[in-house]
């Protein structure tokens, strides 16, 4: 009956490519974004006479992207489930300040245990993560159960969490922080993995890539489901490993630390970002929770009628967001080696932009974690490229704003065309 209409007689080239990619289960949007990133990088490199594609610049780019990228992975799930979180910048500032309080005031003074204990950074981080989850649960409860619009709840949060910073120590700058905690920021002599540990991480990453390709193939074989062609599976594994090796060999370990004079290796915040990305992708695609987030975003009523506890799902997206804010707060305060009251101001806009440039749709139900991370990298690439070209900061804002609008406009036009 209507099935025959699904395949047009003369498919255009783009839709043929798209369906080819789809049948191989490769996200065509992701491929497009990678190409866009490549174009941006090469353009800046040409304009800056080769200053952009240097190990030093790319290493810095990787570190500078982390804080926004980490939060963007959580923002994807919030926006996919048709909500928004405007409080992330303020929450980051608040959590960063509390973590700094733990290590500079509470452990050494209140509990009289002294500075630079082996456990200082662990306690500070644990307090930050727990508080982030708690704040997220509070906001998520108001959105999910009490049904106050997320825009209002988190707009309130934006004011509240920023304001509360000044309840501690009148908001004076807290510095210096615990030196082990400081490594989370990626600065200094010991903020990176160094030479051989980077290769070790790279080896593990390659092993995981190969294992996931093999396992997915085997599982599909077991159930008699259509398989990707062998050459494509091999190609994906080889390409994945090549990217890992190139990232370490040509960027991380090529960049010689100005402090130690030896290869820097992958910065700790980048290691954290990679782990967060893998975990969040796994959560979004392979766990029931992730499936429910997308189902709810696609059709809230259907999800409810399907027997899903949608209130809890919504609340959990905010809990995750709070935890990720704490992770980003640790990275940012550690990099500054200080907690300041304006930490994370307007970060919410960068985080939302990264998610949206990365293909997350405000209509709900659509968006990917790796896309958002790439969105953060694209935004940071634009910023640091323009810095290299000595473009002033207000002009940078104008450009990033335009890119945001054009990216979303292009995406929704292409999506309409694809239907």
């Amino acid at each position: 009956m209507t099935d025959t209409q699904a395949a047009p007689a003369t498919p255009s080239k783009t839709s043929a490519l798209r369906s080819g990619l789809a049948s191989a289960e490769i996200d065509s949007r992701m491929v497009g974004m990678i190409l866009a990133t490549a174009v941006i990088w090469i353009s800046f490199n040409l304009l800056s006479d080769g200053d952009f594609l240097t190990a030093r610049n790319l290493w810095n780019l990787s570190v500078q992207s982390t804080s926004i990228a980490i939060m963007a992975t959580g923002m994807v799930l919030i926006i996919v489930s048709r909500n928004i979180d405007l409080s992330v910048g303020s929450l980051l500032g608040f959590l960063g300040y509390v973590m700094a309080m733990v290590q500079t005031r509470w452990i050494p003074n209140t509990f009289d245990l002294g500075l630079e204990r082996w456990y200082t950074w662990i306690v500070a981080l644990a307090v930050g993560l727990a508080l982030g989850a708690l704040v997220g649960a509070f906001q998520g409860f108001l959105v999910g159960y009490i049904k106050i619009p997320a825009f209002i709840v988190t707009l309130g949060g934006l004011l509240i969490w920023r304001g509360l910073i000044f309840r501690f120590e009148q908001g004076q700058t807290l510095s210096p922080l615990d030196s082990t905690f400081g490594r989370l920021g990626g600065g200094g002599a010991d903020g990176s993995l160094g030479d051989w540990k980077s290769w070790l991480v790279g080896g593990i990453a390659c092993a995981l890539i190969i294992a996931s390709v093999v396992l997915s193939r085997r599982r599909r074989q077991r159930y008699d489901l259509p398989l990707r062609p062998m050459w494509l599976d091999v190609g994906i594994a080889v390409l994945g490993c090549a990217v890992v090796v190139a990232g370490i060999g040509l960027v991380a370990n090529r960049y010689i630390s100005p402090i130690t004079g030896s290869p820097t290796g992958i910065a700790y915040p980048v290691v954290i970002l990679i782990m967060v990305t893998i975990l969040m992708t796994f959560l979004a695609r392979r766990r029931q929770f992730g499936r429910y987030v997308y189902a709810y975003g696609g059709n809230p009523e259907a999800a409810e009628l399907g027997g899903i506890n949608t209130r809890k799902v919504v609340m959990m997206t905010f809990v995750l967001m709070g935890v990720l804010c704490a992770v980003s707060a640790a990275v940012q305060t550690a990099r500054l080696d200080a907690a300041v009251t304006n930490l994370g101001v307007t970060n919410e806009l960068d985080v939302i932009s990264a998610a949206v440039i990365g293909g997350t749709s405000f209509a709900g139900g659509i968006g990917t974690i790796p896309g958002a991370v790439l969105g953060a990298v694209i935004m940071q690439s634009l910023r640091s490229g323009m810095v290299l070209l000595k473009v002033d900061s207000p002009t940078q804002d104008v450009v990033v704003g335009l890119v945001l609008i054009v990216a979303v406009g292009l995406d929704s036009t292409l999506r309409k065309g694809a239907k």
């Binding site: 009956m1 489901l225 975003g297």
Partner: protein, 274 residues
């Protein structure tokens, strides 16, 4: 099938020899001051199709939503296999073997057929992750039985035709061994060929001993498929009749002026049918 009586002979609750699959007693639901459902009692036996009919706003959807768990009743009692049950949400309903196919189909548009069929009841690997391969495989087999033309297993259901979406909605109900199936206007959005398919499917499910509540405004659907017909008007039950004992005109009279076949005069019937 052999352990069941012939359903057609079972007239409403007066037949004490068999316990109805579903017995809804004195159900009331009001929205604000409006009594959407005002003390309605209906029942359903295994292997039987009971049509719930009435004009727009008669309260038939609201009535059946109390069984589906989409909207709990304010008062009244629901018995399943003679046991009183409490149904506050769709999960409760499913735990009693009640599956619902909603008028709007209630599919998550951005998720594929397998994801929708297993929505809320996902298959998991032993590590607690989603077992997409197992769900795809089960969907493939299920669809081979229900709609052999169905091929688009991995595309979001948004891009499927109305009939295919209907297949997904029905497959979801069928896969989990529903004992009680609620179909809310199952053919409203379908073309003639697809409607025929759905009718065939209803007959098949009925022969498997499933009890079906059919909500429809299409009197032809109702007369072709139902064993008994319960008519609602303005939130109240007009009455329940055996299809074999009434004419379409008499049912129309029940729907429109709320009079039972014995009470209605020939003039009134003529007025309704012109």
């Amino acid at each position: 099938m052999t352990d069941l009586d012939t359903p057609g002979t079972a007239s409403a609750a007066s037949d004490g020899s068999r316990v109805p699959l579903v017995d809804m007693r004195d159900i009331r639901v009001s929205f604000g001051g409006v009594h959407a459902v005002d003390g309605v009692s209906i029942d359903l036996y295994a292997g039987e199709v009971v049509a719930l009919v009435g004009g727009n706003g008669a309260g038939k959807s609201t009535m059946i939503h109390t069984l589906a768990g989409a909207h709990p009743a304010d008062s009244g009692q629901i018995l399943i296999n003679g046991e009183p049950v409490t149904i506050n949400n769709p999960r409760d309903a499913r735990s009693y073997g009640v599956e619902t196919i909603y008028q709007k189909l209630a599919l998550a548009d951005n998720i594929d057929a397998a994801g929708n069929i297993f929505l809320g009841r996902e298959l998991k690997t032993r590590f607690g992750s989603l077992d997409d391969s197992a769900m795809s495989s089960a969907t493939q087999k299920l669809m081979a039985r229900l709609n052999p033309r169905f091929k688009n297993l991995r595309t979001p259901v948004k891009s499927l035709s109305g009939g295919q979406r209907q297949s997904v909605a029905i497959a979801r109900a069928v896969h989990f061994n529903a004992k009680i199936l609620i179909m809310d206007e199952p053919t409203a959005a379908l073309g003639p060929a697809e409607t025929a398919e759905v009718r065939e499917l209803i007959t098949q499910l009925k022969s498997e001993g499933i009890g079906i509540f059919l909500i429809s405004h299409d009197i032809h659907d109702v007369f072709d498929l139902a064993d008994r017909i319960s008519v609602m008007l303005q939130g109240k039950l007009v009455g329940t009749v055996n299809k074999a004992e009434v004419t379409k005109d008499e049912v129309l009279a029940m729907i429109i002026i709320g009079k039972m076949p014995g009470e209605v005069s020939t003039e009134e019937i003529e007025e309704i049918t012109h």
